[in-house]
Symmetry: C2
Subunit: 77 residues, 2 copies
């Protein structure tokens, strides 16, 4: 969990998480399926999607490769 | 510093760092200037550019806004 975040930072992480969830669901994948395919824990992915985790480059790339999308898609508004 | 990285992970972080350096230099900015403008430490930025730091979403967004570029540009090959 990330603590002591400003409202803007919370919004930024929530926006990232929402885009991840949209892309995951567009594949028809559950969080459990994405966890199994990516090797990341389901509870961690849930935290990312809720904007409670400040995910870093290596895990961003892991998710993008697993979902076969551009990493930039997680940042697009 | 990141430790125990696989060769692929090292390459991924180095590629990210190189793209950051290219974008920074295209603005004619030194690391010192980017540090001053972004509020991130110059030593940290140096580590990111050398692929020694696994930078996370909030700092990626800070750099993209400072450099007025798309965050996805740091990931493009």
């Amino acid at each position: 969990m990330e603590t002591n975040l400003s409202p803007e930072q919370q919004r930024d992480l929530q926006a990232f998480g929402k885009r991840l969830a949209v892309i995951r669901k567009s594949r028809g994948w559950s969080q459990e399926k994405l966890a199994l395919e990516s090797g990341l824990a389901r509870s961690y992915l849930g935290g990312v999607e809720r904007g409670q985790r400040n995910i870093a480059v290596l895990n961003i790339l892991k998710l993008a490769r697993t979902l076969e999308c551009d990493p930039g898609a997680f940042f697009q508004t």
